[in-house]
Symmetry: C3
C-alpha cells in the first residue's frame, strides 16, 4: 500500500452532499441497520458487520474511540454507547477533515442533526424538492406552481435535491410542464389520497423551477435503499432532460452513480452543466474504493467530479467516506504518476479540483 | 502471483448450482462447443481454445491428464479420448475439492449424469421449474395449478430453478397470479401448440409456489447462451418480485450475474432473502477471475455470497470453476489484509462463509 | 510499469474503424472541442486538457513535436500551429504504426481527409449507411430500395457503418422489412421534411442490404457524442437482429462499446458472426486503458476482437489510440503470462490476431 500523498491527506474537503447525524445512542441492531442500505439485519445473512463497510468500522473507526483496530462488533457498540453519541459524532466529524457540508436534511428531520451542531464547521442547506412539494400541496392544487416558486425563491438553500429515481425513475421527459399540467398532476395526487410526491410531471416541474432560480440540482442516481429499482436509476435515462436544460447554465449534479459511475462520467463529459460524484459507494465498498474511483475517473473531466460522502445517520460514515476517498484519490494519482500520465504539479491541482474547487465553482460558495 | 492461502486451498466447497457431466467422449469440435456459451465454432473466429477458458484448459487441466502445461489442443483432445470420459470426469471432479453438489439436471437429462456417478460425493437435486411445468401441462390446463403444487410438495429437490431470464426476461411482476390467470395462461400455451413454457404469468406462478413450499429459488441472471437477451436478464428487473416475496422468508439466489454482478450485490444487500454468486463467469474469465470476483464482493454482505461453478457437460469446468474461485478468493483476502481491511481470523471466516456455510444455512443442508 | 513487449511494440496495426483528419490549423478552443466527445468547452468544467486524454496529449504527443513531456497546453497549441497541421498529421500518423486504415468518411467530408493523404499508407473506405440513404432519398421514395441496392453494389467500400444508435437506438427488430414498408418509411420521412435518416425500418433495411452484398456492418455502440442516449446504445439491444442475420455469414462489428464492453464480448462469444473492439475508449481513458481492455478481453474469444482508434479530426488520436492499445495489450499479455495463463508463443499469436489478423480475415483484406 502506497503511503497517502501528503497533499491529499491534507485536503480541506467540501462534502457537497450529505445528510444529518443521529444524536441518539444506538444498540447493535440499530447500528447495523444504519450501516448499509439494508433496512434490517437479515436472519439469512449473518451480521452486516461482515461487509466491507462493517470491517472498515472495526478497522478505521475503532482507534478513534481508543479501541484496538479490528475490535469485535459488540465491544465497538459498547464503547460507542459509553462515550455517547455527541462525543462520537464530534470525533468522527473532526477526523474527516471536511470543512464545508452541503446537507440534505429532508429525510428524518426530527431525528437527524446537521454536522455543524457537533463541530461548528460551515454548513449549507440543500432543499429536498419532493419534500417541499409535499409541504406545499397541503394548501391544495390551485396555485401550487406559484407557491413552489415562492418557496424556492425564499429558500436559504444553495442547491436542490431530486429523488425522482425513487419516486418515478429517472426517465424524465425533457419538456417543461405547463402550470395547467402541474395543477392537474396535483389534483390526481390529492385524489389518490396525497402522501408521497410520486409523479413524473411534478418531479420534472420541480427540477425546472429550481434551475430557473439558479439552484444547482442534485439527482440521486444509482445505488440506494430498497425503495428504488436500480435499472430505473440509470443516469442515462436523464439524457433528454439534460439536453433540454443545458441552456439554463445551471449545474446538475449526478450523485452516487454506482454501478453506473462510468455512464455518469460520460454525461459529465458531454454536457457542460453536468457533474458527477461517487458518494455512498466510496465508504460502502471500503478497501476496494481505489478501483471504483479509478473507474469513475476514466472519462470524466477532472473539473467535473466532486467529493461527497452521502453520510446518513452515523458519523462514522463521514470519517470513512473521507478516508477512503483520500486513499482512492491518492492511489489514482500515484498510479497516474507511475505511468507518467501527469507530474506532481498536475496531481496537486487535480486533488484540489476534486476535493473542493469544483464544488466551490459549481455552487458559487465563495 | 501470491501463493494461495492455505485455508482457501483446503476449503471443502459446496457447489450450490451446477449441471451434469457428459459420459460420452468428445472430438475437438464437440469439446469446443461445450467450452463456452457459443453453440458452434465460428468459421470467422479461429478456435474457441483461443479464449480465456480455452487457455485455462491447456494450462490447468492438461497436467491432471499427465500432459505438459500449455499442451496443444489436439493433443489434449486425443489424450482425453484415450483415457475415456469416465476416468477424465472422475479426475477433475475429485480435483475440484467440491464435497456437495446441488445439481440442476433439467437440461439434457438423457446425456448428462450427476457428479456423484463418478465420485460418490453428496449430490442434491434442484428442480427446474419450467421443465416441471412442461411435464405437468401434458395433462391439460384444467387442474394445472394443483398438479404443480403436488409435484413441488413431493419433489426430493432442495431448491427450484427458474430460467425466466431465457423464456420471458426477468421483468416479472410482483403480484401472485390467481389460479384462474394461471389456467388461462395454460390454455393460451396449449392453443399455441405447447412446447416451451414461455409465459410471464407461469414463470411467476412457479416461483411463488416453490417459495410457498420453502424451496429456495435460483434465478438464472445475466450471461448465458444465445437464447437470451442480456438486457432482459438484468437482476434489477426482479425488484418488484423480490419486494413482494420478502415476507415469505425463503431465499432467492441470483446465479452467475455477469456483467451485472455489482447490481446483484446491491440486491443481496438490501433484500434480506436475496443471495448472489458468480458461477459460470468464474471459469469463463479464467485468469482474470480475481478482478471480477473482487467487483462482485464490493457491496454484497459476506453472509450473502455463494460459490458455484454452473459447470455443464465438461468435468473440466468443475475443476476450473473451483480453481479460479480459490485463486480469486485468495487474492481478494490477501489484498484486503494488505490494506488492513481485516485480519487473518476474519479472512478465514469469510472464506468459510462463502465457500460453504452460506449455502448450508440458506438451503438448510445440515 | 512493465516495458512494452517487443512484439506488441512492433505490431503492424490494422485500424478497422477511424475517421478523417483535419487539414486546418486549430486554436486552443478548436483543439479542445475535438479532444473528447464534448462539443464545447464548459464554463463550469475548467479545461478539457484536464482529462485523461488531455494529459495524454501533453505527455505522449508533445515529444513528437520536439516539446518536453507535460508541456503546458498553450505551448502545445502554439507549437502545433507553427509546424502546421500537415506536418503534425504526418508525424502522428507515422508514429502510430498503423499500416492499414478503414475510414468512415461520412462525417464532415468537406473538412476531413483520409490518413493516406498524409502518409501514403493503405486506406479502404467504409460507407456510412444513413448518409447513403440521405443521398438516395433525394430522388424520392419510389424506387428507393433498388437505388440503395445499386449504390451498395457499386460501392468501393469494404464495409458499411450504421449509426442507428444515434438515430433510433439499437433496439432494431430482427425482421427484414419489405420494400413496401421501406417505401412507406421514406414517404413518412419526406413528409416530415427530409433531413436526417432516423427511422427504425430504414436503419434495419440498410443493414440487411449491406449484409446481403457481403459487406461487414459496423455498428456504433455505447459511448459517443451527446446526440445519443447511452442506454439506447447498449449492444444487447441488437440481439434479435444478430440472431436473425447469423445465417448470412457476414461479420457484424460492434464498435467502441464502452461502458458495455463486457456485453459486447458476450455477443461476440455467442454469435459466430459478431466481433467487438474498444475504439474511442482506448485513447479517451488514456493511462487507464489497461484495465478497460482487460475487462473487454474477459470472455470474448481472441479471434473476435479487433483494434481500432475511432480517431476523428486530430491526428494525435491515432497516435494515442495505438499507443494506449499497445500498452494495454502488452499489460494484458504480461499479466496473463505471470499468471501462467499462456506462454510467450501464444502471447505473440494473440497479439497478431487482435492487432491485424482478425481484421484481415473478417474484411477479407488479403
Amino acid at each position: 500500500m502506497d503511503p497517502l500523498l501528503p497533499y491529499v491527506a491534507e485536503l480541506n474537503l467540501v462534502d457537497h452532499h450529505c445528510h444529518g447525524v443521529l444524536r441518539d445512542d444506538l444498540d447493535r441492531t440499530g447500528f447495523e441497520e444504519m450501516l448499509t442500505e439494508a433496512d434490517t439485519v437479515s436472519r439469512w445473512g449473518t451480521s452486516l458487520f461482515d461487509s466491507s463497510v462493517g470491517f472498515a468500522v472495526r478497522r478505521w473507526c475503532a482507534p478513534l474511540l481508543d479501541l484496538p483496530a479490528h475490535v469485535r462488533p459488540d465491544e465497538y457498540i459498547a464503547r460507542r454507547r459509553s462515550l455517547g453519541a455527541a462525543e462520537v459524532n464530534r470525533a468522527f466529524l473532526v477526523a474527516s477533515g471536511i470543512s464545508t457540508f452541503l446537507v440534505d436534511g429532508g429525510l428524518w428531520p426530527e431525528r437527524l442533526h446537521g454536522p455543524s451542531v457537533f463541530t461548528g464547521s460551515r454548513e449549507l442547506a440543500v432543499v429536498r424538492l419532493e419534500r417541499l412539494a409535499e409541504e406545499v400541496i397541503i394548501e391544495g392544487a390551485t396555485g401550487f406552481p406559484d407557491r413552489v416558486r415562492r418557496a424556492l425563491e425564499s429558500t436559504p438553500a444553495v442547491a436542490a435535491k431530486s429523488i425522482a429515481a425513487y419516486r418515478v425513475g429517472l426517465e424524465l421527459s425533457g419538456e417543461r410542464p405547463s402550470d395547467g399540467e402541474v395543477v392537474a398532476a396535483c389534483e390526481r395526487w390529492l385524489a389518490a389520497g396525497g402522501g408521497r410526491c410520486a409523479d413524473e410531471v411534478l418531479s420534472r416541474f420541480l427540477v425546472w423551477e429550481a434551475l430557473d432560480r439558479g439552484l444547482p440540482v442534485q439527482f440521486h442516481v444509482g445505488y440506494g435503499d430498497r425503495d428504488l429499482a436500480l435499472h430505473r436509476a440509470d443516469p442515462s435515462l436523464l439524457t433528454d432532460l439534460l439536453r433540454a436544460t443545458e441552456h439554463l447554465g445551471v449545474p446538475i449534479m449526478l450523485l452516487h452513480n454506482y454501478p453506473f459511475h462510468r455512464s455518469a462520467g460520460y454525461l459529465a463529459q458531454v454536457f457542460p452543466h453536468v457533474f458527477a460524484d461517487l458518494g455512498l459507494a466510496t465508504h460502502t465498498v471500503g478497501h476496494q474504493a481505489s478501483r471504483v474511483l479509478a473507474e469513475a475517473l476514466e472519462i470524466v473531466p477532472f473539473g467535473k467530479f466532486l467529493f461527497s460522502t452521502d453520510a446518513f445517520g452515523l458519523a462514522e460514515l463521514y470519517h470513512l467516506g473521507a478516508l477512503f476517498f483520500r486513499r482512492a484519490l491518492s492511489d489514482f494519482l500515484q498510479a497516474g504518476m507511475r505511468r507518467q500520465a501527469f507530474g506532481e504539479a498536475d496531481a496537486v491541482r487535480i486533488s484540489h479540483l476534486i476535493g473542493s474547487e469544483n464544488a466551490r465553482r459549481a455552487y458559487r460558495l465563495d
